[in-house]
C-alpha cells in the first residue's frame, strides 16, 4: 500500500478554539505543527459561541478564582474533578490576559479594563451575591477569539491542512499513537500524517440527535476515533439540552422569551407547564421544561401535522416589546419556522446543545485510561482538548461561560505539554502497516457497490432514535428499547452502501464516514445513560429522581468493544485548597 505521507512534530485535528490555541503555543515555540480541519478553520463551531469566557478578574464586582471554583463544583452537581476545576479557574486569568495580548477585542469598561457580565450560576463568596465573571467581545466572543487565534497561527507559520477529513489514528508496532490517516476532501486521496504527538480537538457531537443547536460539522469525529483506538469515553450520559429549539431545525430560542412573559401551550392551547411545575411554570429548570414538552408530545398533545412539537406563544407581548426586548427571535422564527411570533406561536422542541463528557484527559490535556483497579495511565503521545475531551471540569452540568474557558485553558495547556513531550521524544515512530491498513479500510469499504441500506436513510433514523430514546426522557423502558433499536441500526450500517463512488468532493462519502462516528458516539451516550440509575445534573431519570452519592458519585467509562461500562472515582481533592463536599444543589 503506497500512501503519501508528511511528518510533523505535532498533529492537531480540529481548528476551533482548543486546536488553534494549542497550535499557537506550539508554533510560537518553533515546534513543527500541522492542523487538520474538515472545514476552513474560521468556519469551526467556536464561531457560534456568543456568551463569553469566565475568569475571576474582579473588574466589575469583587471576585476570586476560589469562588469561581466553588460555583463550578456546585454546578457540576459534584461530579467534576476538583483538582481539574481548581486548575481551570486559576488558569482562567492568565489565559484571558494572553488572549487580550494576542488581540481579542474584549468589550471594555470606561477605565479601560475588560468588561465582565453576570451569568447564571455565578456567585461571590461561595454562594453569596451574584458575581460578574464573564468576559465578552460584544455578542460575538467566539468569532473574535477564533479569528484572532487563526491570524496569530498564520503569523507563527502553523501548517494548515484545510478541508482534510481525519479517518483514524494510527499506531506503531508497540501500540503508541503515531499520527493519523486523513482524507483530502477535494481529491478524495488519503494522506498519512505522522507525528510525535497528536491532539484531538474536534469539538462536539450534537448531530447524534435529530434536533440540535450544533452545526452540521459537529459529528463527534475525535470521540469516535478515540473509541476505535480502544480508548473509553467518559461521562457521555451528561448531555445538555435546551428546552426551546425551533422544532425540526434546532436553533436556540433564548430562555429570555419566557422570562419576558412568553409561555408554552400544547395543541389544545393549554398552558401545560402549570401541571408540571405549578409555581415556576414556564420558568422551571431546563430539564423539567424539556421533559414536560416531550411528555406532552408522547401523550398525543403535540401540535402540528405530526403532533411532534409544542408551541411557544408570545403574540400577547405585542410587536413593540418583541422587537425591543427580544431582538433576533422574531427574525429567527420567521426564517426557520416560517412563523412571525407577533401573530403566531413558535413551534419548539428540546434541542441538544453541549456534551459534558468526552475523551478522558488529565489537566495537561493528556489522554488517560484506567489500568488495574483505581489507577490510570497516560496514553503516550495522545492529547485531547475542547468539547470532545473530558478533563472533568463540567461534571454533570456545565455553567455558562465555562465552555469557551475549557477549550482555551486546556488547549493552551495541552500545547505547552506537547512542547515538552516532543523535546523528550525527538524521534518519529514508524507506523505499523497493519494499523494503517485498518484505517484505510474505513475508507475503502465505501468503494463497494451493490445493494444495502442508503447511508443517508440510516443517518436520519439513527438520529431520530437517539432523540426519542436517549434524549431528555430517560426511563429504563424507553432507553432499553432504544438501545435495541440502535444496535439494529449499527448492524445495518455494516451493509450500508453509497451510490456515488466519485472521488472529487464526494460529500456523500464524507457524510457516510461521519455517520460511522455518529453511531459510535451515539451508542456511548445511550449505553452510559441506560446504566446510570440516578438523576444528576443534565442526566435526569423519572424512575430514579434523586442524586445517589453513595452509589453513583463516580465517572462512567464506555468502551466500544461489547458496549462495556467501567467506572472510576471522582477526584474530590483539589490541588491546594479544601474539598467542597457534596451538598444539595439549590439556587
Amino acid at each position: 500500500m503506497s500512501i503519501p505521507s508528511r511528518h510533523f512534530d505535532a498533529l492537531i485535528i480540529g481548528a476551533g478554539g482548543a486546536g488553534l490555541n494549542a497550535a499557537l503555543q506550539l508554533a510560537s515555540a518553533d515546534v513543527r505543527v500541522a492542523v487538520v480541519s474538515k472545514v476552513f478553520p474560521t468556519r469551526s463551531h467556536t464561531v457560534a459561541a456568543q456568551g463569553g469566557v469566565n475568569a475571576a478578574l474582579a473588574n466589575v464586582l469583587p471576585d476570586n478564582w476560589h469562588w469561581h471554583m466553588f460555583d463550578t463544583v456546585k454546578g457540576s452537581d459534584y461530579l467534576g474533578d476538583q483538582d481539574a476545576i481548581e486548575f481551570m479557574c486559576r488558569e482562567a486569568i492568565p489565559t484571558v490576559y494572553e488572549l487580550e495580548h494576542a488581540g481579542v477585542p474584549f468589550s471594555r469598561l470606561d477605565n479601560g479594563k475588560i468588561y465582565q457580565r453576570a451569568f447564571g450560576g455565578q456567585s461571590q463568596d461561595f454562594g453569596g451575591d451574584q458575581a460578574a465573571r464573564t468576559c465578552a467581545a460584544a455578542d460575538r466572543t467566539g468569532h473574535a477569539i477564533l479569528h484572532t487565534l487563526y491570524q496569530q497561527n498564520i503569523r507563527a507559520r502553523t501548517h494548515f491542512f484545510d478541508e482534510f477529513f481525519a479517518l483514524d489514528l494510527v499506531r506503531d508496532k508497540d501500540g503508541v499513537i503515531a499520527g493519523a490517516l486523513v482524507l483530502e476532501i477535494e481529491t478524495g486521496e488519503p494522506l498519512l500524517i505522522e507525528a510525535k504527538a497528536t491532539l484531538l480537538a474536534t469539538g462536539g457531537c450534537g448531530q447524534v440527535f435529530r434536533t440540535t443547536s450544533n452545526a452540521h460539522i459537529n459529528t463527534g469525529d475525535g470521540c469516535a476515533m478515540a473509541l476505535r483506538a480502544g480508548i473509553p469515553l467518559m461521562d457521555m450520559e451528561f448531555y445538555q439540552f435546551h428546552p426551546t429549539g425551533i422544532a425540526g431545525k434546532g436553533m436556540l430560542i433564548t430562555e429570555g422569551v419566557r422570562g419576558e412573559g412568553g409561555f408554552l401551550v400544547n395543541k389544545d392551547g393549554e398552558r401545560f407547564m402549570e401541571r408540571y411545575a405549578p409555581r415556576a411554570k414556564d420558568l422551571a429548570s431546563r430539564d423539567v421544561v424539556s421533559r414536560s414538552i416531550v411528555t406532552e408530545v408522547k401523550e398525543g398533545r403535540g401540535a402540528g401535522e405530526n403532533g411532534d412539537y409544542i408551541l411557544l406563544k408570545l403574540d400577547h407581548l405585542g410587536a413593540e416589546v418583541i422587537d425591543k426586548r427580544l431582538p433576533g427571535i422574531r427574525e429567527s422564527s420567521r426564517i426557520f419556522a416560517g412563523a412571525d411570533p407577533i401573530r403566531e406561536p413558535i413551534p419548539v422542541f428540546p434541542t441538544a446543545h453541549y456534551a459534558m463528557g468526552g475523551i478522558p484527559t488529565d489537566r495537561f490535556g493528556r489522554v488517560v485510561v484506567p489500568v488495574g483497579s483505581g489507577s490510570e495511565q497516560v496514553v503516550a503521545g495522545l492529547y485531547a482538548a475542547g468539547e470532545c475531551a473530558c478533563a472533568s471540569v463540567h461534571g454533570a452540568n456545565r455553567l455558562g461561560g465555562n465552555s469557551l474557558l475549557d477549550i482555551l485553558v486546556f488547549g493552551r495547556l495541552a500545547g505547552k505539554d506537547i512542547i515538552d513531550f516532543v523535546r523528550e521524544n525527538p524521534y518519529q515512530r514508524s507506523v505499523d502497516p497493519a494499523s494503517l491498513e485498518e484505517a484505510m479500510s474505513r475508507l475503502t469499504r465505501w468503494d463497494q457497490k451493490g445493494g444495502g441500506v442508503p447511508a443517508h436513510q440510516l443517518r436520519a433514523e439513527f438520529r431520530k432514535c437517539m432523540e426519542d430514546h436517549a434524549g431528555v426522557f430517560r426511563t429504563e423502558e424507553v432507553m432499553a428499547e432504544g438501545y435495541q433499536r440502535l444496535c439494529e441500526l449499527r448492524d445495518q450500517f455494516k451493509d450500508a452502501r453509497l451510490t456515488d463512488h466519485s472521488k472529487v468532493f464526494n460529500t456523500a462519502r464524507i457524510e457516510a464516514l461521519e455517520l460511522q462516528n455518529l453511531i459510535d458516539v451515539g451508542l456511548s451516550i445511550a449505553v452510559s445513560a441506560l446504566h446510570r440509575k440516578e438523576s444528576r445534573g443534565a442526566h435526569s431519570r423519572p424512575d430514579y429522581p434523586n442524586r445517589d452519592d453513595v452509589h453513583w458519585m463516580k465517572h462512567s467509562l464506555y468502551y466500544r468493544e461489547a458496549d462495556r461500562m467501567d467506572y472510576k472515582p471522582v477526584r474530590t481533592k483539589p490541588l491546594t485548597v479544601e474539598s467542597f463536599p457534596p451538598k444539595e444543589r439549590v439556587y
Binding site: 467556536t46 457560534a48 452540521h216 416560517g338 468532493f505 460529500t507 464524507i510
Partner: protein
C-alpha cells in the same frame, strides 16, 4: 419586459458537491440557509447569480449571520438582493 426566456445552464454534480462543502459552516443557521438554498434555489440562478453565490460563500460566518438575521445590511446592493433572495427561498411557507 419581453424577450427570450433564458434557461439557466445545467449544474454539474461536481459543482454541486464542491458548493455543498462550502455551505458547511460554523453556525447551524448558516448550514440551513446555505444548504437549503443550494437544494432549492441555486439551479434557478443564471451564470452571474451563481458567481455571486460563490462569492457570498467567501464571507465570514459572523458577517453572513448578521446579514441573514437583519442585524446589518450588506453595502453592496447585489449582495443585499442575493441575501434577501436566499431567505425568501429557504423560509418555510406555512398553511
Amino acid at each position: 419586459m419581453s424577450g427570450p426566456i433564458r434557461q439557466p445552464d445545467p449544474v454539474t454534480d461536481e459543482e454541486l458537491r464542491r458548493l455543498r462543502w462550502q455551505c458547511r459552516r460554523g453556525m447551524l443557521e448558516l448550514d440551513h440557509l446555505l444548504s437549503g438554498f443550494l437544494d432549492r434555489g441555486y439551479r434557478d440562478l443564471d451564470a452571474r447569480g451563481r458567481t455571486e453565490f460563490l462569492a457570498l460563500l467567501d464571507n465570514q460566518d459572523q458577517e453572513l449571520s448578521d446579514w441573514f438575521m437583519s442585524r446589518s445590511i450588506p453595502e453592496d446592493p447585489v449582495v443585499r438582493d442575493l441575501v434577501r433572495h436566499i431567505v425568501a427561498v429557504v423560509t418555510p411557507r406555512r398553511t
